[in-house]
């Protein structure tokens, strides 16, 4: 059996943990740049606050009902996410010393993880899931919902059911028997299934396949021809309770690294655009070195604002370009140099830009980590420099040491006007107790 553990309104739960005055009160968290609502507590949902809607659209409900609003505080969420995942690993018996043990926890996103429960007898699944739920809640203060089923797809479905009626389910739902699975699938529309995208859902409904149960009973050959080959077959099997999507090995090295952000306000000057891109490159290069890779290709894209007011909701024009480096590198200054050249090519005077991003690809293992006999000594020195910068920034935080090209003022930086303190990860932000 597999379980999916999903944190309830994760960002809101993190915000509320250190604010008992907000327990049982409506709370929402905004996306980067305070643009959209990306997390709402149950209380906010009940007041009619929509998901993923622009902040300004919900403003009247928020003000009328005195809903607490937060800018996203990714340091806090990241730290709390690590705590939740570590707790699951401890419960699963994955100990830090035992690197060889098969991973029984697969972190799926910042607030979700799959767990392999094959060692738990079927009769004990509900009480075991409750035990996981209670322990995570006790240790980290984050409440979770857990769905248990023979496959990942059915576990996801169980989780949705657990969340739908929290009081009745106690945030735990087990679909262990075929009978339970049948009932669940009959009640579920195909567009609510994990792995069925919007376009497939529309097609399926067109063909008269509306419930999950109907889809489950389609032959595999049919799925192979009509639902994208192997992917479709896998989905049908998963719905039948035959595991077809396996537990992923953890932390595969990324094949590309991207950093992209919206600007806090429209940017028009070339030097500001360059600063932003240099900053993103520094971030991306740090991630690159963390996984001990070097990049061969640097891409930059910038997005301009539509001039036309009617086109407000259309996507602005994105232009991008890339350079292939003569030799793969993980050195920030080399990457910045090519990226800044790309910005110069892409930039058009007079345009307003709202977003930029960088991508490092063509990743290979970084052979400069061990001193290399066949490269000039100076390059080995650069590696030491990078290590030193990374270490300083890691221990002092907030880019204490950076390249001049990243700029000092950063007027373009993200708006986060309502951000809470980093209670769980910074000395200067510790929660005060009286």
């Amino acid at each position: 059996m597999k379980a999916i553990v999903d944190c309830n309104s994760f960002y809101c739960s993190c915000e509320r943990l250190f604010r008992p005055d907000l327990w049982n009160k409506p709370v929402v968290v905004l996306s980067n740049n305070d643009g959209c609502i990306i997390s709402r507590s149950d209380e906010a949902r009940q007041l009619g606050v929509g998901m993923a809607i622009p902040y300004f659209q919900a403003r009247h409900i928020i003000e009328k009902n005195d809903i607490a609003v937060f800018s996203s505080n990714y340091h806090l969420y990241g730290d709390m996410s690590r705590r939740v995942m570590d707790t699951l690993r401890i419960l699963a018996g994955e100990t830090a010393e035992d690197d060889e043990a098969p991973a029984r926890v697969e972190v799926y996103s910042v607030d979700e993880a799959f767990m392999d429960l094959s060692a738990i007898p079927t009769g004990d699944l509900t009480s075991y899931a409750k035990h996981i739920k209670d322990t995570v809640e006790q240790w980290t203060g984050i409440s979770v919902s857990i769905g248990v089923a023979p496959t990942k797809t059915l576990a996801k479905l169980a989780n949705i059911m657990a969340k739908k009626n929290k009081k009745e389910s106690g945030c735990v739902k087990v679909l262990a028997t075929e009978e339970e699975q049948r009932l669940a699938l009959q009640q579920t529309r195909v567009d609510n299934l994990w792995g069925v995208g919007r376009s497939y859902a529309a097609k399926l409904i067109n063909w008269g396949i509306t419930s999950g149960w109907e889809l489950r009973n389609m032959p595999e050959e049919w799925a192979h021809t009509n639902m994208g080959g192997v992917v479709g077959v896998r989905l049908i099997r998963e719905l039948r309770g035959i595991p077809a999507i396996v537990m992923e090995e953890e932390l595969v090295n990324k094949k590309m690294i991207a950093t992209t952000r919206m600007f806090g306000r429209p940017v028009t000057a070339l030097h500001e655009l360059k600063e932003a891109v240099a900053t993103y490159i520094s971030r991306a290069a740090e991630k690159l070195r963390r996984q001990e890779s070097a990049a061969k290709v640097v891409s930059v894209f910038i997005v301009s604002k539509e001039q036309d007011h009617l086109a407000d909701f259309k996507r602005g024009g994105t232009i991008s370009n890339y350079t292939t480096l003569p030799k793969s590198t993980s050195l920030t200054h080399e990457l910045i140099k090519s990226a800044v050249e790309l910005v110069e090519q892409l930039y058009e005077n007079g345009k307003e830009y709202k977003k930029a991003g960088v991508m490092l690809s063509g990743l290979v293992p970084d052979d400069s980590i061990q001193g290399n006999l066949f490269v000039p000594a100076a390059e080995n020195q650069h590696r030491f420099l990078m290590n030193t910068i990374d270490n300083i920034n890691f221990s002092m935080r907030d880019d204490s040491v950076k390249f001049g090209s990243s700029g000092m003022n950063k007027n373009w930086k993200m708006r986060q006007e309502l951000r809470s303190d980093r209670y769980s990860s910074r000395w200067e932000d510790l929660k005060g107790v009286r």
Partner: protein
């Protein structure tokens, strides 16, 4: 004091190293004899953080617990996985506020007791107030 309850197989802190993580003395010949006695040194996390995912740090503001050796500006280490029993210093939430107090529980009565003559104990009326135990204070870090 209550190390026994923490130590042993249930340890979930940050102590995680092998013999290979211990740097050996950079010496050859006779000097290398000291190599046999190289240690990793003391890491405060090993002692103070017993269950890492459940451990939080907080800053004390006020004089509520001076009698227990906890002063204004001190940092307290709070473990949410430790059970709050009678006599523990806890972080409590009461009507939307976070308080550090000694936890007194007997029969069906709960009290939050300060350790300063300036404040009086709070009787918790479980039906009329929003009360919960946030975590148990395990250590205090005090600057001299």
């Amino acid at each position: 004091m209550e190390l026994e309850q923490f130590s042993g197989i249930n340890y979930k802190g940050s102590k995680r190293f092998t013999q290979w993580d211990i740097p050996t003395a950079n010496a050859t010949g006779f000097g290398a004899a000291a190599d046999d006695y190289m240690e990793r040194g003391i890491d405060l996390n090993e002692q103070l953080v017993r269950n890492k995912p459940a451990t939080f740090f907080m800053r004390v503001t006020g004089d509520a617990m001076t009698g227990a050796g906890i002063f204004n500006g001190d940092v307290v280490i709070v473990d949410r996985s430790v059970k709050a029993v009678n006599g523990k210093v806890i972080i409590a939430t009461l009507n939307g506020e976070m308080l550090i107090r000694r936890f007194e529980k007997n029969f069906n009565k709960i009290r939050l007791v300060p350790e300063t003559p300036k404040l009086s104990p709070i009787d918790i009326d479980l039906s009329g107030s929003e009360f919960s135990i946030w975590g148990v204070v395990t250590y205090v870090i005090h600057s001299l």
